[in-house]
Amino acid sequence: MKSRVSLRGKLTSEIPTSSMADIAFLLITFFMVTTVFTAIHGIDYGLPKKEMSSNIKPQESVYIHLKASGEITLDFVPVSSMEQLASYIKGKMEQTQGRKPVILRTDPEVPYGVTVEVLDVLKQLDIQNISIPTQTDIELWKDYFRD
């Protein structure tokens, strides 16, 4: 006797997707927590290539000195405020069609924030030729940086 086995209830292959949404939301939570959207900004300080750079003497430029005592001198004359500094430099730049370089010298003990504050003033005046001498430069050129 032959026995017949009928397969009425067909077996269908399925990928279990019930937990997919849970996994997806878990991933979303991870990315939402770790994402940083803020673009960072700063003051660009591009330096010329070595062959294009030249030595500038304080006498041939606008010379700003941020002293350890908190005093700011401009062409060896003390200034009391950033506004005074800005108006003086603006005047100088108008006289020389903006060609006069600016040297920004900072004493080692001065907080870095003060240097950036002055640099920001210079950038606002759209001065292209800004020179920040290093301590080694100052040592080498100490005859010119006497004040």
């Binding site: 997806a24 959207f37 700063g42 003051i43 330096l47 941020l66 004493d107 606002q124």
Partner: protein, 139 residues
Amino acid sequence: MIIRYRTRPVTAVIPTASMADIAFLLITFFMFTTSFSVDRTDVQLPASVVQQKVEKDAAIIAITADEGIRISDGIRESELVTDMAKLESILKEIVQTHPSRQFIIKCDKRAPYRSFNTVYEMMLRNSIRNISLLTEKKG
């Protein structure tokens, strides 16, 4: 004649079939926009009016108020360096591998200028020309 209407109970169902699609769409968005911060040094940045957007993947040198220095090549997490010779060797390595990479100086406004000068001189020695000084927006 009496007509009887069969009333079937109405059940409230929130359609969840498209939920996975929406979720994956959001994942894709976050995956493409995510950028992991390579340096989380806590510094008080100086403020400025003039600001330019810095390049993505720029190398970062962070200087804290107590003159601690951390460096990152823009890809790897920043590391603390106590030895200046080591800092210079890392700088050289970055310049050799990525010659056109921008360098960001993330210096605390209370840090003495001498610590900035140390890093600045080192950069000049290694012919790094593309520098950005990280600031906060003033006002």
